[in-house]
Symmetry: C2
Subunit: 209 residues, 2 copies
DNA sequence: GTCTATAGGCAGATAGAC
DNA sequence: GTCTATCTGCCTATAGAC
């Protein structure tokens, strides 16, 4: 009888997996088709069959990343109504990447922004816009529920959170210390607490699988 | 009589000026000796005379940058005793770089951290450490003076500020909108205000020359 | 779909004349 | 100090066999 083959994603997905990791760790300008090919045990020429050029690979990379990120946000929405828990889970998405020495893909691309092809640039901006929109809604809800307190607009506060978390990844990574990121994220989010004092333990920034 | 020559920095300094701008805008991995040589109207070989390799050039770059940054912090200390004004001036240092589409040099290098030679990595970490130390002192003083209010430790709060400003540069730059950075920086710093409400106008984040 | 082979360019770097 | 000339290696990318 037919035994199920060992689960093995199709080649384009495996290429994206490897390339994604390389970009998040080393940057778009510091990885090559040769790197990806070596890790997969195939040739550079095969990569060009699936993704004609580095620009197209980059576009596919960010498109998939943004889609997954959107799904993660939707899952957070489905898991809790608590604005606090949503913010902690949001920060946990960043912590998860950092736990493998990865930057946020779009944070990395933002650093390299001036060197990127136009389609990738546009996708980076769209990613930040979407994050902002989601956070803005969470913040508005949290304020309505008296779970959060902040004086700036929800939009400005959303931008502060994105900047704070992206920056915390950027700065923490050289220290090779996830705890440092978590502490900074917690300090940042704690400034939005409706009650003074630290977050309850259940709302601490955790890594998400 | 001897007329003063047109002021023209010596070659190593001019090389560093050009390379610094290129790294801040494009990144360490996305600029070449050819780029610098072209901008200066000299050859690549001449660059190698002054800086044997890219690694040495990078070290010289960050050493000079860190020294200048330290001088800027000392100047801030000499200009005002007000912790609020110091924080605003500190944020202004970042805004100044961003006004020419530049990232903080060390923020850019932090993104590329995993690809950098060891000496440059160490210098990046030292840069952040020094910033943290300076901010920590300002924050302690501001709390003592009742000019600032924050619940986390001065050290954690310093890290939050560095992360927030580095991240705000990173995220704002793709939008090509300095006002966006200033607004985020102001939101971040406003959360440290001893009195609720917005900063007085004189303490808004300004660009520093 | 994956391979071998190779093109064409640019990277960092060096030797040696001036 | 700056140049010309050159080296070696890696890069992205393509042609064409299997």
């Amino acid at each position: 009888m037919a035994r199920p083959q060992q689960q093995k994603p199709d080649t384009p997905q495996r290429i994206l997996d490897v390339a994604e990791q390389l970009v998040q760790v080393r940057g778009f300008n510091a990885f090559s088709y040769a790197d990806v090919a070596a890790q997969l045990g195939i040739t550079k020429a095969s990569l060009h069959y699936h993704f004609p050029g580095k620009a197209e690979l980059g576009q596919a990379l960010i498109a998939r990343y943004a889609q997954r990120f959107g799904q993660a946000l939707a899952q957070i929405d489905s898991e809790t109504e608590d604005a606090w828990a949503k913010l902690a889970a949001y920060a946990g998405l960043y912590a998860g990447a950092l736990s493998s020495q990865r930057m946020c893909l779009c944070g990395m691309l933002a650093a390299e922004y001036e060197t990127l092809p136009k389609p990738i640039r546009d996708a980076v901006v769209t990613f930040f816009d979407d994050n902002e929109t989601w956070l803005e809604r969470v913040l508005d809800q949290g304020r309505t529920d008296d779970a959060l307190r902040f004086e700036a607009s929800a939009r400005e506060t959303a931008r502060m959170i994105i900047s704070g978390l992206e920056g915390a990844m950027l700065v923490s990574r050289p220290y090779g210390d996830i705890a440092r990121f978590r502490a900074t994220a917690e300090t940042l989010l704690a400034s939005l607490a409706a009650t003074d004092g630290r977050l309850p333990a259940r709302n601490r920034v955790k890594r998400r699988s």
